[in-house]
Structures are given as structure tokens and as C-alpha cells.
Amino acid sequence: MMSMVFNEDQRILQDSVRAFCHENAPVSELRRVRDEKDEDGFSRSLWQQMVALGWAGMTIPEEYGGFGFGYTGLEIVLEETGRTLVPTPLVSTVLFCATALHLGGSEAQKLSLLPKIAAGEVLLALAHEESALHNPVRVETQAVANTDGFTLNGKKCFVLDGHVADQLIVVARNSGEQEDTDGISLFLVDRQAPGVEVQRLNVVDSRNAANIGFANVQVPADALIGELGDGYSILEKVLDVARIGLAAEMLGNAQEIFDRVIEYLKQREQFGIPIGAFQGLQHRAAHMYSELELCRSAVRRAFSELDGAQEEIPVLASIAKAKLAEVLEDISNEGVQMHGGIGMTDEFDIGFFLKRARVVQALLGDANFHRDRYASLNGF
């Protein structure tokens, strides 16, 4: 098994990513995007700086224009950007879609898109959910084959970065019943194609999501990713990688809340002493610390598997997502409570962490979803 402790290169990367986020992408950037009602929902110039640092190509192999730093590189970036909540297309374009293309795309698809992703020239979004609850086998969107390729009809919801993506990866059904795993296929769809209707959502975390309708959208035959009807085998792997990546973002979120809470406990005085001297708060802080240690291990272990043996990815993904969802819920609540009244104000940042927490907890399955999946994977 690969190490759960960062090596020298990884530590250097972590320091540089952290420094960049601190200086160029602090929480105030999310506040700016929200208050200015930024049309893109993120800063394109900031994204280009991140691209220049190699973040978009972190997991993409060198032959496709990336840096081949492995998923651990992306883990570091997701954790650090999770600490400052900076909105970027990292999750949609790199974590979800570059992974999907890398795992399932044809050589031509990889050659045409992966270098552009690494160079920050294209944004992608994964359109898979069809209901308010994560359910990867619930696919009603229809793909019907015709002489020119396929026609897509259906609706997708909560597509991350759906309104800014140049290309969409759409999960559609070409055969089978609603919850069958067979008969699901993945298609590349131009967001500007006729029949694609994008409706941007205004979400509690001030980040990007959209509902997207497909009305007789015609795609060419070579838009198919992988084999016809066999898309679920790709999707399953993509979702597990993405869950592990989201767990890294959640770890950054939770760690940042925790660090801010500890700082506040040391500074804030009541009854003439720092409130951190009260045992009622000390023990809650100690519990949070303990849970965070377990979270960090769950995330590290999962990434070491992604860059290593890969055999236990599904179960490790569910461990990481379930554990982080549970702990982040608690820590984000404590983040508000332990700051007292100021924690309830919009002027103070802690609310941003809480808002993002609930969104990322729900994405790709909440704690209950993953406990259920964990039980099934373990034969009970």
C-alpha cells in the first residue's frame, strides 16, 4: 500500500497551493462573486492563473498535455481550495469530466479534449442526476440511434457548472428500464447545440449549478463515450473518483472551520477569561479534532488507492464520502454555534462554509447513501 503521509514533492505542492489560495483566492473571492452576481459564477482570470500553475492538468497524463502528478496532486488542490471556498471549474471539468474522458473516452476524444482541459481552453460539465436525491441508475433521459448518430430527450438537474460548460457529458438511456445498469450510455454534447436549454440555479452556496433540458438534441455517432449501453461501468468509476475528490474538498472545508473555531476560542473572552478555558467547549473541540483525524485518514487512504492498487476504490470512496459528510455536518454546525452571535452574521465568513458544506455533502450521495452502499459492498 502507498503511504498515507505526503512525500517531499507533495508537501512542496501543498505549501504553494495554500499560499496561492491565501493570497489570490481567499473567501472574499466567493463573497465578491456572490455580491456582484457574477454571470460566470467564477473568475475566469483567476482560473487561468490556476491553469498556469498546472492545477487543471494535475491528473491528466503527459501524453495528453497534462502533468501526471496523480490524483494526490488534485487532492491537495481540492483540499486547499476547499479551505477558502474559491469557486472554480475544478470539480466539474477536472475531477468529473477529465476523469470520465480518461477512463472511458476514445483516443480521438482524449486527444481532442484532455489537452484543452489541461490548458484551460475548455470547460466541461457532467449531466447525470435526474432527481433531488443522488441515484446514478435513475436515468430516464433517452438516446435514440438514428442514421446521423443519436437524438437525446430528457432533463437533468443540479449540473455543476452547467451554464458555463462548453461541452456536457450527458448520461442517457438507449435501452432498458429506469433503474437498469445496462443500457446506459455517455454522450458528449455541445452546450450550444439546438435543443439544449440551460437554466442556471441560484444555490445556497453561491456556486454554480444548472438544470438542463434536452429536446431532440442531435449528436453525431462519435459523441458516444465508450461502448453503447455500457456507460454505467464508466460512470460508476467516475463517480467514485469524484466522491473521493469531493471528500478532499470537504476535508479542507472542515479543517478551515475547525482552525477558525480554535483561534476564536483562544481570543474571545467572557466572564473575564478566554472561552476556550471552558470544559464544555474544550471537549467539543477535542471531539472535532478526533473526528477530523479520522476524516483525514479516510481521504488519504482513498487517494493512496487511486494512485496505487485501485482494487478497493468503491468501498474506500463510500467510507470517505460517508465519514466526511457526517463530520462536516457536525463541524459546520459547531462552527456557527461556537462563534455565537457573530457566527450568524453575513458579514462574518463562517456561514459560507456551512452553506457549501450542505451542498457538497449531498453531491454524489450523502452519508446515508454511502452507508447503505458500504453495507451492500460488504455483503449485508
Binding site: H283, A375, F380
Partner: protein
Amino acid sequence: MQTLAAFRQSTRAWLEENCPASMRTAMEEDEVVWGGRQAEFKNPDSKLWLERMAAKGWTTPTWPKEYGGGGLSKEENIVLLQELQRINARQALNSFGISMLGPVLLEYGTAEQKAEHIPKIVRGEIRWCQGYSEPGSGSDLASLSTKAVLDGDDYVLNGAKVWTSYADKADWIFCLVRTDFEAAKHSGISFILFDMQSPGVTTRPIQLISGASPFCETFFEDVRVPAKQLVGKLNDGWTIAKRLLQHERTMISGFGLSTSNAGRKPDSASLEGVAMRIRGDSNKLSDAVLRNEIARHKIDSEAFAFTSQRSMEEAKQSKGPNATSSMLKNYGCELNKRRYELLLKGLGTQGLGWSSSDYSDFSALELKTTREWLRSKGNSIEGGTAEIQLNVIAKRVLGLPDMPTLIKKGG
């Protein structure tokens, strides 16, 4: 020095030749080898296995060779552990001498003390017990009042200890005593070793809620202990006491590690296996709420095991146990307690028997589970209560401030 690969090869060959077949099976609680003058070996192979391992120093693989230890590096020790695990070898010797006293004696003892005591720990000749808690000093351990007064070349001890594990079976005790009655409470304590056969020592077992009696009350009445058996500096025993507690916590945290599920299939003794058997379920646990709770527990157990592993990796870069031992101890104990509560929920009334009747309504495993459930309640009390561990984390790891008044008086 031979390479790790060569070491692995020679270790594997030695184990193949020297580990008796009956020592490669799961061990019942009454088969654990504790050593000591009154050592009992239910299986004669246990004695043979102990002697062979002790001769190599592998009962304490990383301790120095000059005191009978194995003298292995951390890396070699890992190889040894892996090879032992590979053949499912039993632990040859389990003792508080190994897990608690030895490490601090190596750190703080004189050459003479080490030469006298360490080899006997390695060979399992002397069984040690721990004289820490007192009737009036539990969590506030530093308020202890067992007195040691110098009289010529001896200290004369008077007082009582409680929760002394296996005091009735132990040969020697490592004991915290008050040697300065004027100083602040942490500054007047010394760490001393003596023979439990010394005149004036008596023990009385305490029956627990589980029915078992692993602990004793221990009384000292004018017990004479040679002054040279004091470890470290006079009145500096608290430093050693705390160090030893870290080792103890590291040991106890292992309780949370017993639930791995390598094959990812429920076996009959697992939480889910038990619950499914009682409910007659074949491939999915029918109680959805219990299933969720069990999954949550198992996820926590796995994340905890990863954390222990990560902590070991990180410890390689530093030295000895650190403050995270409090976190691991506390979490491990809570996990173990939760596990038994879930086992009880899984078993229903089958988990509530006390002994078997003529009708044998309860299986041996079920009865054992009930007793272990009760015993597990002590996990978060012994070795420092959960509350004390949380205090340690808050202060030493998180750097949160002390409460300035009230309880600070008296040191």
C-alpha cells in the same frame, strides 16, 4: 547488517521451524500468556513458544540486545510483525512489563535497574502490575496520598491502591508514591518498584459488573522498599507517570482495532453476521436502522484503523508516542463500546443471558458477548477516563487555555 529482504527470509524460515502448529490458531482469553512466577500454561506449546521467542528477544523486538531484547530496527520489527501475522502466530507474551514499564525503564532507569528488570520482562519471568489509582485519587491522580518515608536505606510505604490490574497474580509492582508532603501535588511524587511478596502488601480482588475480577484493591502497611528501587529523580515521578500513561493509552487504543473485515463478507462473529443470523436474513440485514448504524460503526472502525496506521507512519519521523495517543485511546474505547451495544441490539434477548441453564438457552458465544459488553464499559474509565483524554487533547494538542481559578489551587 543484513538487508530487509534477507531478514524477512531468515525470519520466515525461523518461524516455520520454531512456531508450534498449535500456536498458529486463534487464542481464547484464558490462553493468554502473562508470564511471572505463577505463570500458567494451559497448552505446553505456549511455554515452548515463549521460551523460543524470548531467547531471540522477540517478545520485545525493538528493545536493546544488551538487556535481552531483539535489537531490531523499526523496519525489521515491521517485517517480523508481518511474518508473525502471515502464519497467524499467537502473541508469545503479553504483559504490562512490555507494554508499560519497560519503555519508561529503558528511558529513565539506571543501568543497574535496567540490567536487573528488563531481561526478566523479556523472558516473562516477572509479572508486573501498576500501582496508580487510589480510592481518593482517580482522574485527579496527582492528588495520590500513598506515603513513602525514608528510613535508613529504605522507604517505608503506607497507603492503598485500587484498580490494580491482576495485583493478585503479579510479582512486582511499579507504583506512584508521595515522597514530598509540602510541595505542590505534581511535584512530590516518586516512581518506585517493589516485590509484591514484601511483608505488609495485601491484595483483594474486586468483582466487576461483568462478574469477572481482573482488578484488585492493594494495601501497603509499613512496606520496606530499598531506596535504590526508586526510578528517575526523587519527586520527579509525575514525569515518568505521564510518559507511562502514553504507552498505556497506545495499548488500550488497540481495542478499537479488532473489527477488520478483510474479505468483505460477513462472518458469523461480525456485527452484521450476528444480527443477520438472529433475524434469519440471508443477504441483506432486514432492520434498516440497525444496518445503517452498523455500517456507520464499521466505517468509523476502518477510518480509525487507517488513523492508527497513519499515526505509526508519522511516528517513524518522530520519537515515541505523542499526544495523539490520547485521541487514539479515547476513540478506540468509544468504538469498542459502540460495537458491543450494536452486538446487543443485533442479538436481542439472546444477548441478555447471564449463564447457561439446563436448557442451554444461550450459546457460549452469546454469554461471552454479554460479559464483554459489560466489561467494555470500563474501557473509557481505565487508563484515564474519556473526560481526562479530552482534556489532554484540548490542552496539549489544541493549546486551549487552562481554567485560571478554583481548581488550580493545590498545584
